[in-house]
């Protein structure tokens, strides 16, 4: 799918270079403040744990919470956001044409998109990547033990190419069992037509919940491709981009310093840690520099939570998805999530 998406995006970029340029007029930040809400582009087909609706019909998910956090930073109100559901093909057009202010739609940061499409990626809120799932009964602990295995894979995708590269690089052989869609892959894997199921890790976790006994399957720790997903704004939209970027950083920084939605009030009143005091707006003028209220980060943590809380609420061990932190753990715990310093 991602391969197809890239091709479409590239052709669109060629066809619409002019439009991308003309969409830069007028700073988004002023427009957002004027209309009173953030228009956030999200995944229209839904992605388990990232963008779905709950029983009450409210949008919820990991990407949705980032949209809400941006709204909280600007307006102090988690409901000052409107969601525009977008398909993979529409998403960049919607951003270029000004239909949305920010795109938070599990979009992989690539060079082409960052440059030729006239977009700016501001960070990574989820490090995804291709992984492997096997039945527990196979007794495999690492992808390096998969020599000679048969692998179910979706045809015509980068997934298939990554798979070939990984096995060749490790001098292992494998037998591909290819299918057109993931919906066909699943029954084949369950019926035992292949030993291994491969797709992006977030997809593996979502797929696993569809089984009768999810605990009979394990997701191997190896990640064989890079799919950094993050929020996107229009190229050259710097002030607005800063707001989105530091919203994400504030959530990561809060987790690193142990600031949660539970203890944020107490820490704001009593903490002597200078970093926490700066983060929560007790000291310094970070709000003013960003063009935001002084307590912007405090409000984010209070109303939405820090990065870890948001992760656990939408994707973590207490949800049906049970996604391990892995690469998305803090850098202090061996992951990749790292906030630039609040100073």
């Amino acid at each position: 799918m991602r391969l197809l998406g890239t091709v479409v995006a590239a052709t669109m970029a060629a066809a619409t270079g002019l439009a991308a340029g003309s969409a830069l007029a007028g700073p988004t930040f002023d427009a957002v403040r004027e209309k009173g809400f953030v228009q956030c582009g999200v995944n229209s087909s839904g992605l388990p744990g990232f963008a779905t609706v709950d029983d009450q019909g409210n949008w919820s998910g990991f990407d949705i919470d980032l949209c809400r956090a941006i709204a909280v930073a600007v307006f102090g109100d988690r409901n000052a956001v409107k969601f525009t559901p977008l398909t993979a093909k529409e998403r960049f057009t919607a951003l270029q044409s000004g239909e949305i202010d920010v795109l938070v739609r599990n979009t992989t940061w690539t060079l082409t998109r960052d440059t030729a499409l006239g977009l700016d990626f501001l960070g990574v809120n989820y490090y995804d990547g291709q992984g492997f799932m096997v039945p527990k009964s196979l007794g495999v602990k690492s992808a390096l033990e998969l020599d000679g295995a048969s692998v179910c894979v979706q045809t015509g995708t980068t997934t298939e190419l990554n798979l070939a590269d990984f096995f060749r690089a490790n001098n292992m052989s494998y037998e591909p069992v290819v299918f057109e869609t993931n919906d066909e892959l699943l029954p084949a894997f369950q019926a035992g037509r292949c030993d291994v199921f491969t797709t992006d890790q977030s997809g593996l976790y979502a797929t696993r919940t569809k089984f009768e006994n999810p605990d009979d399957y394990v997701i191997l720790p190896e990640v064989i491709s890079k799919e950094p997903l993050g929020p996107v704004v229009r190229h050259g939209d710097n002030e607005w981009g800063d707001v989105v970027r530091w919203t994400l950083f504030a959530m990561i920084e809060a987790e690193e310093y142990g600031v949660t939605s539970e203890n944020v009030d107490e820490l704001r009143a009593n903490s002597t840690n200078p970093t926490i005091r700066r983060l929560l707006g007790v000291e310094g003028e970070f709000g003013k520099n960003l063009g935001l209220p002084q307590d912007w980060a405090y409000q984010i943590i209070k109303q939405i939570g820090n990065y870890g809380e948001v992760f656990e609420r939408n994707l973590g061990m207490n949800t049906p998805l049970k996604i391990a932190r892995g690469l998305n753990d803090l850098w202090t715990r061996g992951g990749l999530q790292y906030s630039m310093p609040f100073r």
Partner: protein, 368 residues
């Protein structure tokens, strides 16, 4: 028929009853020859193999109520998904507190249509035309709000069966008049009008609906000046209406060509102008002849509305796909799609039956 009845003598015995006992019926219809018997047994076995497990899955082992997939047994259908999310299947993401507005608007439509079914109502055509022009703005006020103290509900929140009906309704009501005009234009003697109509019909009919929707959703925004955005639903509605009009035009043209030349000449001999001739003589006959074709186009259009899923609108099918992405309900594709399919079938079947009724009423003149 009437002649035969009149000729029958009351003294004669009635003909032998055609009704058979069950065994005789079986013998005649299912086991009349050895190969028919073989076919019956084969088909019966296949039905047994398919239907019994389906029945067990859909009814016997099914779970009808619950808060999440956890409540369901893996062997049976999980209809708890449908019962707990029924509101979203019907209204999409429309705010729960405002759903009464959708119901009210549809109720209003039904009430407004009552006079059309009264046998003695005189100005039926005039009334129907008025309804076609007056109802959509009223319905829009109900659905979108923003006036009279009704909170504004943006079209991105419209969805489910409600959205399917909106798209199909707009497509159907717009396509018939536009289609008639296009058909007349195509048979017009004025070269410019004829050329325009031919080009429009052939271009629109020559591309798939998917292409038109993609153009409307992906390309169109790039051609508009910056800051100008047209609502995505509106774009889709215009695309669907134009598409259906082109098909309708060809159906109507078939009817126009089926009218004998003598009818045109007779109308002209009476001194009727073009519009009078078409309105009083030609179109009433032509449209009646092509009712099956028109309804066929409507039914096709109703199902085509499901294509708006690919441009990110949540019609009944789109909503069915979207709801099952919730981690609580992951993996219930079969239940969700079956329900959506059932929803589509109910409406298409109703349209089909209604068209048979209309045909019967309008062909009263031919039976005489």
């Amino acid at each position: 028929m009437a002649v035969a009845e009149r000729g029958r003598s009351p003294a004669l015995l009635p003909p032998v009853s055609e009704r058979l006992g069950p065994l005789a019926w079986l013998k005649r219809n299912l086991f009349s020859t050895w190969y028919n018997s073989l076919l019956t047994i084969l088909v019966g076995y296949l039905l047994y193999v398919v239907l019994v497990p389906f029945f067990e899955w859909a009814i016997l082992n099914a779970t009808f109520f619950g808060d999440s997939k956890e409540a369901c047994d893996f062997d049976g259908a999980c209809w708890a998904l449908i019962t707990s999310r029924l509101g979203q299947y019907l209204y999409g993401l429309y705010p729960v507190a405002e759903r009464w507005r959708v119901n009210a608007a549809f109720l209003l439509l039904i009430l407004a249509m009552v006079p059309l079914f009264l046998p003695r109502f005189r100005h039926r055509l005039l009334y129907a035309c008025g309804l076609v022009f007056l109802y959509p703005p009223v319905a829009y006020l109900f659905f979108a709000g923003g006036v009279f103290g009704l909170p504004f509900v943006e079209t991105a929140q419209w969805g489910g069966l409600f959205l399917t009906l909106v798209i199909a309704g707009v497509g159907i009501t717009a396509s018939l008049p536009i289609g008639v005009l296009l058909a007349l234009g195509r048979r017009s003697e004025m070269p410019v009008i004829r050329a325009l109509c031919v080009v429009f019909i052939e271009v629109i009919r020559g591309v798939p609906l998917v292409t038109i929707l993609f153009m409307a959703s992906v390309m169109l925004p790039l051609f508009l000046p910056p800051g100008v955005t047209i609502d995505k639903l509106l774009r889709a509605l215009i695309g669907v209406a134009l598409f259906a009009s082109a098909y309708m035009a060809e159906v109507v043209r078939g009817g126009l060509q089926g009218i004998p030349k003598g009818q045109y000449e007779a109308a002209m001999a009476l001194g009727l102008g073009y519009w009078q001739m078409m309105g009083y003589v030609v179109l009433p006959q032509a449209l009646r002849m092509v009712i099956p074709g028109i309804v066929n186009t409507f039914i096709g259009l109703f199902k085509d509305t499901a294509l708006v899923t690919i441009i990110g609108l949540y019609d009944l099918l789109g909503m069915s796909r979207f709801i099952i992405q919730d981690p609580k309900w992951l993996g219930l594709a079969a239940e969700s799609y079956l329900f959506a399919g059932f929803g589509f079938w109910v409406f298409c079947f109703a349209m089909s039956r209604y068209s048979m009724y209309v045909e019967k009423v309008l062909s009263a003149g031919e039976r005489r």
